[in-house]
């Protein structure tokens, strides 16, 4: 196995992404008259960390602005174009100030198949708190360490509905590196991850052609998806580099084969969910699985509110426990939806590592004000991080986030 190292260079992707805002502006001023829809949101965000930072370079608190404009146009005949970019300007000018093209894609539907070309996002999975099998898009872990935020992925995506189920084929011509928080950012590793030192197993590096094939079907009350992915692992191994005085971690991306399965099932007031994967090519072959449920109490206390109780268990049998935050964890949580005009909703989860002492508690709440404004609040608490646990460097990073979101 040959590992090639890579220096920072202007990639084709960087050029494409740099040109896109200009294209955006051009489209914005010239095409709005021709049925091009402009939408998106602006977010003002403040993050408060009650604990002192663990590492000297880390900031105390921060504020930022997020812009997510979106342009959409539907042509007669059914095809459409979507452009969506993401920019975050943070008071802390490190990795957290960043931007990306989330979407720049063209969809061409016919009666028998549909083709999507360009940068887009695809989600696979079923469970609420853990996303195991989702693989097409790279994680933007600067944005969110739980893996919910994704980077745009260039792709050719063919969807062919069958009499029984649906077949999807993906060709992924360019690999996106995972983003990682910088030295000044909170929720970072120790030592920090230097993405300039990324290594690849494949000599093609980011140009490696990745493929995926997925079959999904609905069997009365159950939805099932099965896929195989062949290409560059979205999840790098982190290796120790630098020198004795300035050690760093650097990402190493392997060529993997991964088979994944996701199931969602409705049974009365129960929702049953499961995800499983088997990966080869990244160390010893391993499997990981998560299963869970959501049970809903409707109209609690004669109000219109619904309360869903969520339970999930995730298990990962890979040898190196430091690669994943969730490896043998139990999660209990609830979702409270008031079903009011303001769309008030609260989602909370407590994650407990079965082997280690670590607890993690997260809660988020949303409420709409008027037609365009929304208040989003989030809190994350970490307790008793174990020495061996991957979350140890985050121990001082419990946080409160308040976002004011304006949608247009």
């Amino acid at each position: 196995m040959q590992i090639t190292s890579r220096r920072k260079k202007y990639s084709r992707f960087a050029l494409i992404t740099a040109a896109t805002p200009l294209v955006f502006l051009f489209l914005l001023f010239h095409l709005s008259a021709f049925g091009v829809e402009l939408a998106g949101n602006i977010v003002l965000e403040g993050r408060y960390f009650p604990d002192k930072p663990q590492y000297p370079a880390q900031q105390e608190h921060n504020a930022s602005v997020v812009l997510e404009p979106e342009l959409y146009h539907a042509f007669t005949g059914g095809s459409s174009v979507l452009l969506k970019s993401f920019v975050r300007l943070d008071s802390n000018v490190d990795e957290r100030t960043h931007w990306d093209i989330r979407e720049a894609s063209f969809i061409y539907p016919t009666d028998d198949w549909e083709l999507q070309v360009g940068i887009s996002k695809v989600f696979w999975g079923a469970t609420e708190f853990v996303h195991l099998v989702d693989i097409i898009n790279q994680t933007d872990s600067v944005e969110d360490f739980t893996g919910e935020e994704k980077l745009g992925q260039p792709m050719l995506h063919l969807t062919v509905p069958q009499k029984q189920g649906m077949i999807e084929a993906f060709v992924l011509p360019w690999f996106r590196e995972r983003t990682f928080p910088g030295e000044k950012d909170r929720l970072r590793s120790d030592p920090i991850i230097d993405t300039n030192l990324s290594q690849y197993e494949s000599a093609a590096e980011q140009s490696h052609l990745d493929f995926a094939l997925r079959y999904s079907h609905t069997f009365s009350n159950a939805d099932l998806g099965l896929y195989h992915f062949n290409g560059t692992s979205r999840e790098p191994n982190l290796l120790l580099g630098g020198d004795m005085r300035h050690p760093v971690l650097f990402p190493s991306y392997h060529q993997i084969g991964q088979t994944g399965l996701d199931v969602q099932m409705a049974a009365g007031d129960w929702l049953l969910k499961g995800e499983a994967l088997y990966r080869t090519g990244q160390g010893r072959s391993f499997a990981a699985a998560v299963c869970g449920f959501e049970y809903t109490f409707y109209g609690i206390y004669e109000s219109g509110a619904d309360l869903g109780i969520i339970g999930e268990y995730v298990f990962d049998d890979r040898a190196d426990k430091s690669l994943t935050v969730v490896n043998n964890d139990v999660i209990g949580g609830f979702r409270l939806a008031l079903n009011d005009a303001a769309g008030t909703e609260i989602l909370a989860g407590l994650m407990k590592d079965v082997e280690f002492s670590t607890y993690m508690f997260s809660v988020e709440a949303d409420r709409r004000f008027g037609e365009h404004l929304k208040l989003h609040m989030e809190a994350l608490f970490l307790f008793d991080a174990a020495e061996q646990d991957a979350v140890l460097p985050f121990e001082q990073d419990s946080q409160l986030t308040v976002e004011l979101q304006y949608f247009f």
């Binding site: 969807t159 099932m265 009011d340 365009h372 979101q405 949608f407």
Partner: protein, 270 residues
């Protein structure tokens, strides 16, 4: 005499005289339950064959203090012969839920199937559909009120004839078959006798007190056959809140197929 030579006519006449008291007996024997069912079946028969339907709707929610909030929704419905209809609702406003879509396969018996598409996460979630009493996006319409209603989901009882706003109406009661998951003990439905259109519905909660009143206004006939209301007013008597649905377009036979109602189509619905 001509009378005697036209013997088949005579036979029919005699048969008619013989059977007429019996026929009267049969019509008298129609129970209120049978008449209630006959009315809904005739209404259903008159609405058959619409194929598919696309509507644009504005939903106006008013609270007790008269404060308003709006939702703009496009609905697509595909008629399924022998089973419940398929429907897709896509939200345009409020802006934060723009592109959110709800896909429903209703069934004549058993639970409906339902999926919710969340555009920000590009995620299709299966949702529970058994409990239908919950509010539809914070409005006074419940899932039960907005979903495609199948004859098999209720039992019926004709009560009386009554005039309502100048329409001669029949008044019937509907009782949910799946009483456990319905928000109502009964619905009282006023249908005009001319076209079998719903004019008014009184909803009684599970404790049998009057909960809501639905009034349908601005009926128009489409394609020379299908009557659709331009406005639906739902008043909640217990909370003082109300919701109005205003329909701006009804387009029938647009050529939708099953492929427009699968999980993939949810993602490109806008």
């Amino acid at each position: 005499m001509k009378f005697f030579t036209d013997w088949p006519g005579v036979v029919v006449l005699l048969l008619g005289i013989f059977f007429s008291p019996l026929c009267e007996k049969i019509s008298r024997a129609e129970t209120p339950e049978e008449k209630g069912l006959a009315i809904i079946m005739e209404a259903e028969r008159r609405d058959q064959g619409f194929g598919d339907l696309v509507t644009d709707m504005v939903m106006i929610l008013r609270n007790r203090n008269g404060q308003e909030s709006r939702r703009e929704v496009t609905n697509k419905v595909l008629e399924k012969k022998g089973d419940g209809d398929k429907s897709l609702s896509v939200f345009h406003t409020p802006r934060d839920i723009r592109g959110t879509a709800l896909l429903t396969f209703s069934h004549k018996s058993g639970d409906d199937e339902q999926w919710l598409y969340l555009p920000a996460l590009k995620r299709v979630k299966r949702i529970n559909s058994r409990n239908k009493s919950g509010s539809f996006v914070g409005s006074e319409f419940s899932y039960e009120d907005i979903s495609s209603q199948e004859i098999e989901e209720y039992t019926y009882k004709y009560l009386r004839d009554e005039e309502l706003d100048g329409h001669a109406c029949t008044v019937s009661e509907y009782y949910p078959v799946d009483a456990e998951n319905s928000g109502y003990s009964r619905q009282m439905v006023w249908r005009d006798k001319d076209e079998y259109r719903i004019q008014k519905v009184d909803f009684y909660d599970r404790k049998n007190s009057l909960l809501k009143t639905l009034t349908m206004k601005g009926y128009k006939q489409y394609e020379g056959k299908y009557w659709r209301a331009g406005e639906m007013h739902m008043m909640n008597h217990q909370s003082g809140k109300s919701t109005v649905l205003l329909y701006s377009t009804y387009r029938f036979h647009t050529g939708l197929t099953d492929n427009d109602f699968n999980k993939n189509s949810l993602k490109r619905a806008r």
